[in-house]
Amino acid sequence: MCMTSAPLSFRPEELLADVIARLIGDVRHVAVGNASPIPATAALLARERGNGRPYVSLLGSPQHTFWTDGGRELFDCAGQGRIDVFFLSGGQIDGHGNINLVSIGDYAHPKVRFPGSYGSAHLYYVVPKVILFRTEHSRRTLVPDVDFISAPGANAPNVYRPGGPIALVTNRCLFSFANGRFTLDSVHPGHSVADVVENTGFDFDRPAHVPDTEPPSPTTLKLLRETVAPQLAEVYPQFALQVFGVGQSALTG
């Protein structure tokens, strides 16, 4: 990889949003969980590029969700096959695509306890494209085997599983996921394959030449900063201000 010493003309969040928007692709409905500003940015970017498609649900925000059937509707909707893309993360993620949102150490006497599995043990199975997103790319987070499987990356062929992971996006790189293994697809500008290998606890495949992650184009940056950022500010005002310098008042004031 060719390191550039010139300062980047975009912020890391913009790169990640662009990467994720490409992963989303041409689908009907993307749902984004609470406290996920970068996936939310990506979903809104995909919607702008698709002229209103996909439909985007931002779960933290009553204004950006249509639910009228209570807390179960998200899961029912996914079970119906009406959510095409969702995002999950993990205190640990392993090389088999297993995610751990529960604990480190022995389950009965954990060293570290995380909040819990949330809806992962259902959504990971039924949403066709689950994008794993964890900015911290380290041997602490990306491990050979998780201590607790909140939801597995893959199942035996007879298990009903229309969904599962398609990729893992970190602050360093993009992995794709297929056949129970990750493949290094590209390394973000400012990072190297050696960095990725050193900081990844699990084995992964990689081609002889790993490309740089394509930086966001001027068109994309313009779209992000001028069109997406004001929409984002309604839900993530602090993030929008910090990353894009856009305040909520631009829209609502």
Binding site: R72, F75, Y107, R113, H122, Y160
Partner: protein
């Protein structure tokens, strides 16, 4: 069936030591005022079911020693960090934890709502969530072909405790889009509601309000608690008190700090 409560404590008398209590998720209208009253009363050995997650409410009940078993999918203070008393209790091992996944809890309550002993749910197979739940079973889908599927037994709580925008004098409670509150009430033997205010007239008489109403038929008692979800928010009414939640996260980080928090915000009735 509905009886007007004389006081909040009177309304909460249905919640006995050792009972199974179901409470809603952190954004659906959490009866925090009632939770503080339960802690003051010193309720013990609760089997707490948080549908499907919780934040401050579960953390405080655990910290105050009210919980024997916790059944939920996650407890967290969200942007204010991990839930400190929950985390401490699980690492020390002072409560029994039944880890679930969100739709499993919705489904198990719906099974009770429909009067069936179980319901199936997709997913879960190959997870440790399933592995540690010996009360859940895997069967071969009788309509499939070598198609394993999880069955979840119905959860039938003794009491559902909810908070909502308003109720009328007939015990009808307006829950709006928070329809899991209706499922909780249907599934539970008794339901106790706190509300922001009393609505004059009968909520069921207006078709528009009726569409968002839990009938008093399912509600055993109602107490008025203005800003009763504080410091959490109530949908379409008020937001969470971020400053207070940050203060909680800070104070509850230690046993001593949590005790101080209780002294300041729970045992001092005026502040509650």
């Amino acid at each position: 069936m509905f009886q007007a409560a004389k006081s909040l404590d009177d309304a909460l008398s249905a919640i006995a030591d050792g009972c199974m209590l179901v409470v809603p998720r952190e954004v659906a209208g959490v009866p925090m005022h009632a939770t503080r009253a339960l802690i003051r009363r010193g309720v013990k050995r609760l089997h707490l079911v948080a549908l499907p997650t919780s934040s401050l409410q579960a953390d405080m009940l655990i910290g105050a020693g009210c919980v024997e078993t916790l059944e939920t999918s996650a407890v967290s203070l969200g942007e204010f960090g991990p839930a400190p008393r929950f985390t401490a209790a699980l690492t020390v091992g002072t409560i029994k934890m039944k880890d679930a996944t969100c739709p499993a809890l919705h489904t198990a309550l719906q099974a009770a709502e429909k009067g069936v002993p179980f319901m199936p749910l997709r997913g879960l197979i190959g997870s440790d969530v399933l592995k540690y739940r010996n009360d859940w079973k895997v069967i071969d889908n009788p309509f499939g072909n070598d198609d394993p599927i999880v069955l979840l037994p119905a959860i039938k709580p003794d009491v559902a405790l909810i908070h909502a925008a308003m109720a009328d004098r007939f015990g009808n409670v307006w829950i709006g889009r928070q329809r899991e509150l209706a499922t909780m009430a249907h599934a539970s033997a008794k339901t106790v509601a706190t509300v922001e205010k009393i609505h004059d007239g009968n909520l069921l008489d207006d078709p528009v309000l009726a569409a968002g109403t839990l009938p008093g038929f399912y509600v055993d008692s109602v107490a008025v608690c203005e800003r009763g979800a504080w410091p959490l928010g109530l949908p379409d009414a008020y937001g969470a008190d971020a400053g207070h939640l940050a203060e909680y996260a800070r104070m509850a980080a230690t046993v001593e700090g949590f005790a101080e928090y209780l002294d300041k915000y729970v045992y001092d009735k005026c502040a509650a």
